[in-house]
Each structure stands twice: as C-alpha cells, then as structure tokens.
C-alpha cells in the first residue's frame, strides 16, 4: 500500500455527470481484488485538503491500468473532471477489502448496483465471468441519462436495467426485481443505503455489501468512516475503509 502517481490515458464523460477515467501506473499491478478502492488526490494547482475515495471500476494489473468511474458532483470531483490526457493523478491504494468470496459451488452470483454504486461491480462481473460463474446483473438508475456500462455488463451476463421513471429498461427500483429470487444465489451489492437494506433483507446472510462513508485517512487510522457493527465484539463500529468497504451482510447494521 502506498501513494503513487498515475497518468491519465483517457478521460471521458459516459453519462450525465458521470466520467470514466482510465489511468496507468506501476501500482495498478496490485489492483487484483474487485471491490477495493483508491483514495484520489484531486489534481490541480491547489488540491482540496482531503482525498476522494473512488472504487476500482476495472483493472488490468498486467497492463498496469485501472479505471475509475465517478460522478462529478461536489467541488473535488468537479475539479477531477478537468484532468486531461497525460495529466498526473496521485492515488493511495488499493485500499480495503473487496469482494473476496465467490458463490457456493454451482451457485449463481447476483450483482446489484445502484447509481454510482455500479462501478466496482463491473470489475467483479468481469472476474466472475472469466471464472465461468453464472451472473445475474441488476442495475438501477434514476433516469435514462444516468445509465452507464449497460452494454459492458450485458456482455458478461444477464443484465436488467431499471430506471425510477421508466425512461430506460424496467420502471421502478432494482430491489423490486430481486424480490422474487430465492435459491442458490449469492448477492453482491453496491449502492445507496435503502437499496443495500433491501438486499440485506432479501438475501439474509448470503450477501456481500459494499458500503460508503465520508473518509479522511482511508487507511483505518482516524475512525471517520464507521458503520455500526452487527456483531459488536470489541467495538460497536467497523471501519469501512479498512474492515470494508465490502462486508458480509450479517456483519453490519445499515
């Protein structure tokens, strides 16, 4: 784990406010675990004080490349969006624990992503697909203009898109779609809290959830990024940055 400079290979907008940033750097060789994240120093003459946590959306460790997909919303991510080809971006990472468990033998992997929670699932889907694991993918967005990566996911497994206003794919929430499922599935989810809560209920313990919280250090030292623990042994909280961001659904109260 260290900080390292990466170079922008490509940076383009792929949906409303959503940018795809492809970077190259030696440290990408260690980005082997889907679900991990990097802590991004916003480039620019005067960077904001804190780094921004972004999931590794895709990586080619051998080619020393990685992809981040983010929503340019606040001052930091908006400033990041101005980085051009050849610019340098400093990353701290890869950080945290990703999706380390595969579905049980013959089990199906159900990937559930909401909005800006979709990116880390892509790297996971690619891995599962490469290992021959059957995939059902459910991706929820607000409206048509927000949808991204749908083709890339469709290449890897059965993909269902929902939009809240029905302007693309199924109308409604992604969680409506999974209610019917009960069986040999293992759930892998990333997205807004209400979505994760619905998955937690639907899936009981066979679910892995990727959580978000505001971070400072990103490495477990400052206790900023806690989530209530469901097991509460030593501490009532787990640290999302270093114990997570991916947790077994039974471990956390969300």
């Amino acid at each position: 784990m260290k900080t390292a400079d990466f170079k922008v290979i490509s940076h383009r907008q792929i949906a409303d406010h959503i940018f795809q940033l492809i970077l190259t750097g030696e440290e990408a060789a260690n980005m082997t675990e889907p679900g991990q994240f990097v802590h991004v120093q916003i480039p620019g003459k005067t960077a904001p004080l804190l780094r921004r946590p972004l999931s590794i959306a895709d990586a080619e460790p051998a080619a020393k490349q990685c992809t981040l997909i983010y929503r340019a919303e606040g001052p930091g991510t908006k400033q990041l969006a101005a980085a051009g080809e050849g610019d340098v971006v400093n990353l701290l990472g890869p950080l945290g624990n990703g999706f380390t468990s595969a579905p049980e033998q013959d089990g199906k992997a159900v990937l559930i992503g909401g909005g800006i929670g979709v990116p880390p699932l892509y790297y996971l889907a690619k891995r599962f697909a490469a290992s021959g694991i059957a995939l059902d993918i459910y991706l929820g967005f607000r409206t048509k203009g927000d949808v991204f990566l749908q083709k890339a996911f469709a290449d890897l497994g059965q993909t269902t898109i929902t939009t809240e206003d029905g302007s693309f794919g199924e109308k409604g929430y992604v969680t409506d779609q999974i209610k019917a499922l009960r069986g040999n599935e293992t759930f892998y989810a990333c997205g807004p809290r209400p979505m994760l809560r619905a998955v937690q209920e639907a899936a009981e313990s066979k679910a892995y959830l990727s959580l978000e919280e505001r971070m400072a250090c990103g490495v477990g030292a400052c206790l900023s990024c806690v989530c209530e623990s469901a097991r509460s042994v030593n501490s009532p909280y787990v640290k999302i940055c270093s114990d997570g961001p991916v947790f077994n659904s039974a471990e956390v109260k969300i």
């Binding site: 784990m1 260290k2 900080t3 400072a216 250090c217 490495v219 030292a221 030593n234």
Partner: protein
C-alpha cells in the same frame, strides 16, 4: 549540519516532528508506509477508562483549507488498549505520548494510574479539550480551577511527565495555561480543534452526525500561531504546537511562535508520508533561513533576539 534534536520532559526527540493524537491511530496503519522511527515522537489516540463508542457518522466533513471531525473519542477502553494496541509500539524506539480523556477527574487519574506501568509510554497528554463529547473534557479546558485540580491530581498519580492539551475555544487561553502550569504540568499541547459546523444544503441539517465538530487543518494555523505566541510568553513549560502543520515552513513558524516541538494531524490524511516528508525538508529549509539547530527556533518571534538572516544581511 543542522541539529534537529529537541528535548522535552520525558521525550528526547531526534527531530521536533511528532504525530497529533487521533490522527495516527497507534501507528500501525502508517507503519505500512514508512519506518515510524523516522518520527520525533508519536502521540496515540485518546484512551478512556471504559470503552467509548463515539459519535454516529458522518464524522468528517471538508471545509475550506480544513476539516471538521466529530469522532467522539471512540476507543476500546484502557484495558483493551493496553492489551491490543500499545504493544505494537514495543518494536519501535521512539517517545510515545499517550492521550488520555475522561468525564471527570477520577477517570483521568484512573487511566493514568493504569497505564503508568506500560514500558512503551514516555509521557501522558491530558485531553481536556475535546469538543466532540457532550460531557467531560471540555469543561476542564475552559475553567482554570478545574484544569488546575485535574493536573495536580494526575501529577500525584504518576512519575511520568504530564502534558495538558488545551482548547482554543476559550476567551483567554493563557489563563488556563497558567493554571495547568501551577498544577504541575510538565508541558502544554496546543491547540485542539476549533468548534465548528457545516450544514448540508440538500437536507438543510448539520452534516455531521454529532452536529458540531472540531475544525483542524491549515485553516486554523493562524489561530494556533497566535495562541502559542501568547501562551509561550505566559508560562515557562515547553509547548507541543499543532494546528494546520503541513510543511517544514509550518513547523518553523510554530516553533518561532513558541513551540518546542510540533505535531502533525490532518496533514497525514492527504499525504500519508507527510511526517517523513516534513522531517526530510527541515534541514535544508532551516539552513536557508540561517538556523543551525531546532532548539534555537523556539520563541524567537518574541524573545527579541535578531533572526539569523537579519544578522547576516
């Protein structure tokens, strides 16, 4: 050769740069980045007698050149700390300052008494200034009488040197400083965070789970400099200065103001290598400004000696 060593009660430091409490855990996380022996000293996260669960998230928010935190002293309590966290530092050869918090005087005395037997420990830092807990802590930091009593009671409990960490959220910080000096404090740490708040425009509610938080980072450096300048002239015990330090220049500025050593907090988050980078930059920067040793920096902004450069030029 620039001499970086500084000597504070209980802490013979190879250089004046240490970590600030709560921003560096017990060092384990940052030991993945560099050898902790590079540091002048380490201050660990606040320890309380009983486990504390801290405040509900969100616990941090960014502000202009600063951040707010409302961690709320989350820690597993002194027993677990002794068993699980402190031993990690056994492998290192550097002074360890243990930050202690509590609700009432007895809590502090308890923790200090309990931890005094720990070999890794060099001195205690009494946190009488945490803005993020509803009860305890802060009242000691704003009332000279209770600050005096607390310091005295703790001094009677241990042989270890005692640093008292002061809050900037007071009308007259020199008054509290004098009280803890009188109570027997061996040194003063300052400043803790400045009380602040951010409102989330989407929800129109305070952004932090605890509503108010403590402001740290470069935004508060001018406040720290002013207070260190004033307190260093009011007391004769050494000061560990902190507040927004992110560069060798900042270290020099806080020492010129009156600090004998300097702690780095928030800067670790942006750059995990902040401390070794600052320590590495110090000798050249001091040389450029005409300083030969770290010790001669302390208080030179007010003690009316000429600065080396103005003598040279």
């Amino acid at each position: 050769m620039t001499d970086l060593t500084v000597n504070l009660p209980g802490m013979a430091m190879d250089n004046p740069v240490m970590t600030a409490s709560g921003c560096f855990g017990f060092g384990k996380e940052y030991s993945q980045f560099y050898d902790l022996n590079t540091l002048g000293a380490i201050t660990v996260k606040a320890v309380t007698a009983e486990p504390r669960s801290g405040n509900p998230p969100p616990r941090t928010a960014e502000t202009n050149s600063g951040m707010l935190n409302a961690i709320g002293l989350q820690n597993p309590g002194m027993n677990t700390t002794v068993a699980a966290d402190l031993p990690f530092l056994e492998d290192y050869d550097l002074p360890v300052l243990v930050n202690v918090a509590g609700n009432q005087q007895d809590d502090y005395v308890n923790v200090v008494d309990h931890l005094s037997r720990q070999a890794q420990l060099s001195a205690f830092e009494l946190n009488i200034s945490c803005p993020n807990v509803s009860c305890g802590g802060l009242q000691f930091g704003s009332d000279p009488e209770s600050a005096y009593k607390l310091t005295k009671a703790v001094k009677n409990t241990t042989e270890h040197p005692i640093y008292v960490k002061l809050s900037p959220n007071v009308t007259d910080i020199t008054e509290i400083a004098r009280a803890v000096e009188e109570g027997g404090a061996d040194g003063i740490s300052m400043i803790n965070t400045v009380l602040g708040m951010k409102i989330d425009l989407q929800s129109s509610r305070p952004l932090l789970g605890n509503e108010r938080g403590g402001l740290s980072g470069p935004a508060i450096k001018p406040i720290a400099v002013r207070m260190i300048y004033d307190v260093s002239q009011a007391v004769s015990i050494p000061i560990i200065g902190m507040g927004g330090v992110a560069s060798a220049d900042d270290v020099i500025e806080l020492m010129l103001a009156g600090a004998s050593a300097v702690a780095v907090g928030t800067a670790n988050f942006a750059d995990p290598y902040a401390c070794p980078r600052i320590i590495g930059d110090l000798p050249a920067r001091m040389h450029e400004l005409g300083w030969k040793s770290a010790q001669e920096l302390t208080g030179r902004s007010w003690n009316h000696c000429k600065s080396p450069l103005s003598t040279l030029r």
